[in-house]
Amino acid sequence: MYHAEMPVIGTAEAWRCAARGFLAQGIPPEAILWNNDGTAPDLFASQARPPPNGDIHVPRGFVALADKVVWHSDPSRFSRLYGFLWRLRGARGLMSDRGDVDLARLRQMEKAVSRCQHKMKAFVRFRELGDADAPRRSFAAWFEPTHHTVEPTATFFARRFADMDWRILTPDVAAIFEGGELRFEPGHPRPELPQDASEQLWITYFRNIFNPARLKVQAMQSEMPKKYWKNMPEAAAIPELIATAPARARAMAEAAPTLPPLRAARVQARLPEANPYWQGPAAELPAAINSCTRCPLYRPATQAVPGEGPTDADLMIVGEQPGDQEDLVGRPFVGPAGQLFDQLAAETGLPREAAYITNAVKHFKFMPRGRKRLHQRPNGSEIHHCQVWLRAELDLVQPKLILALGATAAEALLGSGKDILQRRGTIERRVDGTPVLITLHPSYLLRVPDRYLRERATEDLRADLRLAADWLVQRETLIEP
């Protein structure tokens, strides 16, 4: 028979040493008496030997489990842990079998200790001792944990309250932190702690943050069991708060006047806009676009994205619609496709900065998917509703050449977005005669999965941009003489 006496302070380390020795010597669980808390040793203990030394290897998961379970108040915890350790020798996979009866019980105990630690972090209440102006202020708390939680939890308080001295006294163990050093002493009876002025303020806060119109006593008690109440100053206010809540809620409701239906205002807000042409002054165009509610796209979007650039530009570039980034920033072509376009334009000598750049549709159309927004192509009706803004921008800029990027732009400018791969690189004319050079949208290049096809498409876009650049230069040389 072996006998392992576990100390009240430093239990985790002591248990680990003892278990290591027993296991290394192959001593079965039934040959060990575990003892703790100063209770009388078993009848056979007089003939018992202390634990031997040794070294063993156990799954890491078990070490973490044991380091919690040793602090449980159940006297059988040591033998349970050792019994399970003994079983682990033959079956290492046992740690991940959540249906195992022994492990399930240990996990339960682990959870109870963790919960108790969590409650200690929450429900310890310090009172100030001595001078509030001292360089290191001094505090003390009395706490009654369910398990032996002071020792494993004290480091939390040391990390949090490092610039003051404090002590947490319990019937079991006292944690004392002085001058940055943490130590443990045996338990105390409940001390008389001095009154603290902040406590009254805290009770005031507790009383007033409670909303009497939503009394939920059970929800409170399941998280803050009554056993903790006696050491929490604010808990004394609870019975009265509960008792007066229904009357206070009723008084609030009765004091309230009646109201008209909400329908009327909603109907008013939905009045359709009759005029399809926008005829305001140029300076008001961005603001007008921003307040557009013609199609439903405005609802989920952050903001509308009007075009930008010199209003006397020769070249107008029309894309499809703002993307995720443009929607947040409020400016066109700032996302990945915009950056790619800028780079290609610079390579091919297209005067990107001198162009007016905008989109066929001004609000971002997307589908929420988890924490992402998936881009969606605007439909015919949305393109149609947004025409009024594109037309206003065309009237404002009166470009010599329009570069249509992709099918949506072609549809908005020319009435059809079909067969875009065949039409690209050609110039078509709008009803009023303005030439439109059709090309691919840069975001298409970002989406082509095949590398060869992507490079070919990039080359196509480059060629079109060069064509636009040349067209503009030729036009200038034609005019100048």
Binding site: W202, E223, F366
Partner: protein, 411 residues
């Protein structure tokens, strides 16, 4: 007027803050004061330091800087036309309260909100001053949550994000029309732009410079928002539609739903109903399914004809009852995605089932030990030693979960 004491101010300004639903203090950067030069720590998980009898936790000192306000939002107790008593903290008073409460382990930090006084900029700059004083003079390393004012200057919001762990901007109502109706001075577009701006700054703060230095983190615990439920005519499909857009557009950490509750001296424009706490609860459950269980919005809201969630049973159970052709599932064979759709199985339960399945096949008792809520799940699963038989398709299955019909009160 006699001067108010700190205690009187605290009473008024915490009373005014009790309608804010957010209390989270988790998810920020890890830090502590072991160097002895500061106060406080943050370990990633929040701590609830007390619970009020309304069942809500008290984690942060949740107060208003002032409840004077120039706006007239109908749902708000602090609107300009309300007759509630008014008070205003000084910067030093808020700092002192936070530090003294924190030292006594009452709180995890500060959640500061405010009525709008003088101008949005003036209000926001005073709030930033409080945060700056806490961080820089008191070396406070606990949690700070600032409720930003959407109309405030961008550089004030930028500084707030560097000092606070979390920023929030309330969308207030589920639809733009309702915001315009109830909060005439607030602009839903401006609120969205402010949220977009926070997301962009947060993302910009992730990029290292060319020397590899990381810029200071911007609102490391993210941003959140709050929506009032039950004050306008929106149904749950509209509410959840709004939140999915908010999550995807602005990468919000949380959307809080706050059941509209009667407020003292409430406006004539609001319905006189008791707060639909159950509805709020169901919305949180549905929100959870959207974010962690891969449910799509229409799956959850199409189960009932009016677009509202079933108040008697939770949304996952409601979905399962409407799709019984997919059940029962064999816990020993079903995929992770399908197991997550079993009522009574949470993410933890499913992970435990999958890890145990690698060793052996699971029996009914194993599921109990793993922590599954078998009272709910038993009708939908097959396991060793258990088949639900005709239970899955039984006509009265819903009745087994729904609360018994209540006798209406006569008086």
């Amino acid at each position: 007027m006699t001067r108010q004491t700190l205690d009187q101010k605290l009473a008024i300004l915490s009373d005014a803050a009790k309608y804010d639903a957010s209390c989270a203090s988790s998810g920020s950067t890890k830090r502590d004061s072991r160097d002895g030069k500061g106060l406080g720590s943050n370990e990633g998980t929040g701590i609830c330091h007390a619970y009020a009898p309304d069942g809500r936790c008290i984690s942060l000192l949740k107060i208003l800087m002032t409840n004077f306000c120039i706006y007239d939002c109908t749902y708000c107790v602090n609107r300009v036309s309300s007759n509630v008593p008014r008070a205003r903290f000084t910067v030093d008073e808020v700092v002192k309260l936070t530090i003294e409460f924190y030292r006594r382990n009452y709180i995890e930090g500060l959640f500061l909100s405010s009525g709008i006084i003088r101008s949005p900029d003036a209000t926001m700059s005073e709030m930033v001053q409080i945060a700056r004083k806490l961080r820089q003079e008191e070396n406070f390393r606990g949690y700070i949550h600032l409720k930003t004012i959407p109309d405030a200057a961008p550089d004030l919001i930028a500084e707030a994000g560097l000092l606070a762990d979390r920023l929030s901007i309330n969308v207030e109502m589920p639809s733009d029309a309702a915001v315009r109706e109830h909060a005439p001075e607030k602009d839903p577009g401006q609120i969205r732009k402010a949220m977009g701006d926070v997301r962009l700054r947060k993302e910009a703060a992730k990029d290292r410079s060319h020397t590899g230095r990381r810029p200071p983190r911007f609102a490391p615990a993210g941003q959140s928002t709050q929506m009032i439920i039950g004050a306008d005519g929106s149904n749950d499909a509209m509410v959840l539609g709004q939140s999915t857009r908010l999550y995807s557009s602005y990468k919000l950490k949380r959307v809080y739903y706050s059941a509209f509750s009667p407020i003292p001296d409430s406006s004539a424009k609001l319905p006189l109903i008791s707060p639909p706490l159950q509805r709020e609860h169901r919305l949180y459950q549905a929100d959870w399914l959207l974010r962690f269980y891969d449910f799509q919005l229409d799956e959850i809201t199409s189960v009932t004809p009016d677009g509202n969630l079933d108040l008697h049973i939770d949304p996952k159970l409601a979905w399962a009852l409407a799709h019984r052709e997919m059940y029962p599932l064999d816990v020993n064979r079903a995929s992770r995605e399908m197991l997550l759709r079993v009522p009574g199985f949470g993410v933890k339960t499913v992970n435990r089932i999958l890890s145990t399945r690698r060793h052996r096949s699971l029996r009914y008792e194993d599921l109990l030990r793993i922590g599954a809520s078998m009272k709910k799940a038993r009708a939908f699963v097959v396991a060793g030693g258990w088949t639900p038989g005709r239970l899955t398709d039984s006509v009265d299955l819903r009745a087994q979960f729904a609360p018994p019909p209540e006798q209406l009160a006569l008086f």
